[in-house]
């Protein structure tokens, strides 16, 4: 699906996207700095694929998602949807486009208005966008409810009468109402019980096949991302450090940070657990208020050299479709410093992660 991403026009194209949240102080609200939540992110998403966006808390994944859906205003960079620049499009001109770009929210408890019935919630997109439905809004809503595996009879019930998984299905039903082309799923399952996560992930996959959807799935759970994604982008402190096809990324991760992340995925088999060396990163993620210069990972990287502190490694394709931003990538033939502690390189020990999304 993604073998020739450059030949087809990408559905979504993001270039050098930036979002800096100003930090103000004092009576006059003088700007004293900025949280560089997203700091130069570029990627393409082609029609029908699923791009997974992973990274730890605070790395800017969610901000990226909210920038693409234009819930917040980008500071810099460019977002193009179907070739059209939507970066700074006014809310009025954006409105018709919102049918095509929809978002699934993280918290199924906070994303549904407790005062509205399911019918009102799922029907709101029709009303707001003024869409005429053939047999009335109610019928259309009930069809969508059925599509996401909910009882259409539940039309008149309130969100508090549903479980977390059911509520997330209601949220998904709302995003589907407008028949979008692109869905940004912001941690779609992280608030759910593990037993429910698989159901919702499978629902998302079924819907993709059925409705020809394109996903950007934001998650911190590597197993979920592995299960659902075609390509995966790893973010660290507002930047993409590695982006590759799922298989390449999980089997031959090149960036040290990706290696560290993958080594932290639990193996549900105590016998094989000892086969793998767990890479423990030292310290915390540095503050995005004052990110480290050059390579942002150098403060925690065991391979860091002088060049990592002075020259920022560009995101370059080291293998076909495999982009890495690192001076000393692993699993790379031309690696100048091949003496790296070879962490989980072979990939066979990460096999269990494919079985099901287990966090």
């Amino acid at each position: 699906m993604t073998t020739e991403p450059l030949l087809t026009e990408p559905l979504l194209s993001v270039r050098g996207l930036e979002k800096h949240f100003p930090v103000t102080a004092g009576l006059l609200k003088r700007q004293v700095g900025a949280v560089r939540a997203v700091d130069g992110v570029s990627f393409d998403v082609v029609k029908g694929e699923t791009l997974g966006l992973v990274g730890e808390s605070g790395c800017g994944k969610t901000t990226t998602g909210r920038l693409i859906t234009r819930l917040i205003e980008p500071t810099g960079g460019k977002i193009a949807f179907e070739g059209e620049d939507v970066t700074h499009m006014s809310q009025g001109r954006m409105r018709p486009l919102r049918r095509d770009i929809q978002m699934i929210f993280q918290d199924p408890y906070s994303s549904l208005n407790p005062r509205h019935t399911v019918g009102a919630i799922v029907g709101a997109p029709f009303r707001i966008q003024g869409i005429k439905t053939e047999h009335g809004v109610k019928k259309a809503v009930q069809e969508i409810l059925e599509l996401v595996g909910l009882n259409p009879e539940h039309y008149n019930r309130y969100p508090h009468e549903f479980s977390g998984g059911q509520r997330q299905r209601i949220g998904i039903a709302r995003t589907l109402a407008l028949k979008p082309k692109l869905i940004i799923a912001d941690e779609p399952v992280s608030a759910l019980d593990v037993s429910i996560q698989a159901q919702v992930v499978n629902l998302l996959e079924d819907l993709q096949n059925e409705l020809d959807l394109t996903y950007v799935v934001i998650a911190h759970d590597l197993s979920v991302v592995r299960h659902i994604s075609d390509r995966v982008a790893v973010m660290y402190l507002g930047k993409i450090v590695e982006m590759a096809d799922r298989k390449d990324l999980y089997e031959t991760p090149m960036h040290p940070y990706t290696n560290a992340l993958l080594s932290a995925v639990p193996i549900p088999d105590p016998k094989r657990r000892t086969d793998r060396e767990r890479i423990r990163l030292q310290g915390d993620v540095p503050s995005p208020l004052n990110p480290p210069p050059a390579c942002r990972f150098h403060t925690r990287c065991w391979k860091a050299q002088e060049i990592c502190r002075t020259v920022e490694p560009p995101l370059t394709a080291l293998a076909p479709g495999h982009q890495v931003a690192c001076h000393f990538p692993e699993n790379f033939a031309g690696n100048p410093s091949g003496n790296a502690p070879s962490a989980p390189a072979d990939g066979q020990e990460k096999e269990p992660g494919t079985a099901s999304p287990v966090s």
Binding site: I101, M103, S110, A124, H154, H160
Partner: protein
Amino acid sequence: MTAPLDVSGDEQHAAPEAVSQGAGAKAIQGRSLGQIAWTRLKRDKVAMGGAGVVVFLILAAVFAPVVVGWFGHPPNEFHQEMIDTLTMQPKGGTGISADFLFGVEPVNGRDLFSRVVYGARISLLVAFLATLLSVVIGSIMGVVAGYFGGWVDALISRLMDVFLAFPLLVFALSLVGVLGQFETQLAIKGDTLRILLLVFIIGFFNWPYIGRIIRGQTLSLREREFVDAARSIGARGPYILFREILPNLIAPILIYATLLIPSNVLFEAALSFLGVGIQPPTATWGGMLAAAVKYYTVPHFMFFPGMAIFITVLAFNLFGDGLRDALDPRSSR
């Protein structure tokens, strides 16, 4: 931030959950948060008792002429035949009888029962109108400050501080003095003018209390994901404000309105006591208390209007507390 409004009172929880598990064999009727709050309120005996007294008081006030017609005499009718001309006190100490349920006033012998009933009219009317004024101003200011934030919020918040720091009692006393000078030139006069004045003083200076609460609630609601969800499907500002946020504010507005009423009853009584309120001969509870101070030898004169204030305030507070527990179960206890 999980499930801030996920009401799951133990009792109600079992039934709807069980239905949702099944394939919906029987007709599924969703229960709104309002309906759940109502069932919860109905179980609260104390709150329902308070509500009963409140309803009783309102009916008595509205139908005061009828009630007084049955059980008493017109409120401003003198009954000097009931007064001992030597001591100017009611004959037999209080004058309580089947004819005069609460006895009579000293000196003029007016029927205390009918004066208390008519006093309820003024008290409740002023308290309700003043509360309405506070709630309307406070809600609008609070929602606007909380939703728009930024300099709008800063401006409104400072305005609230100014209002809260205002020396209200001094202002009220001087306003009445000034108005008294010009009363003959005004279009509205007498009791109507005084009632409007009381409503203005009490209502217009109390809005920051409710305004702050609503502002805080709006601030937290604005950050909820359903607001983002509405924006991501292209909802405009007014839609988000009125359809998404406002329905969630009805509960706090109701609760604080109910709790504001008794404090306004007290405030009205205090102002009438000080002579700022309705002028005699119109009966008010505060005015009666003020008059009764001079006649401490006839304690029933002070007892009945005092009890009326006490019962009204207590009933509204009990009802308001119950309402809060029913509408917002997390805040209770």
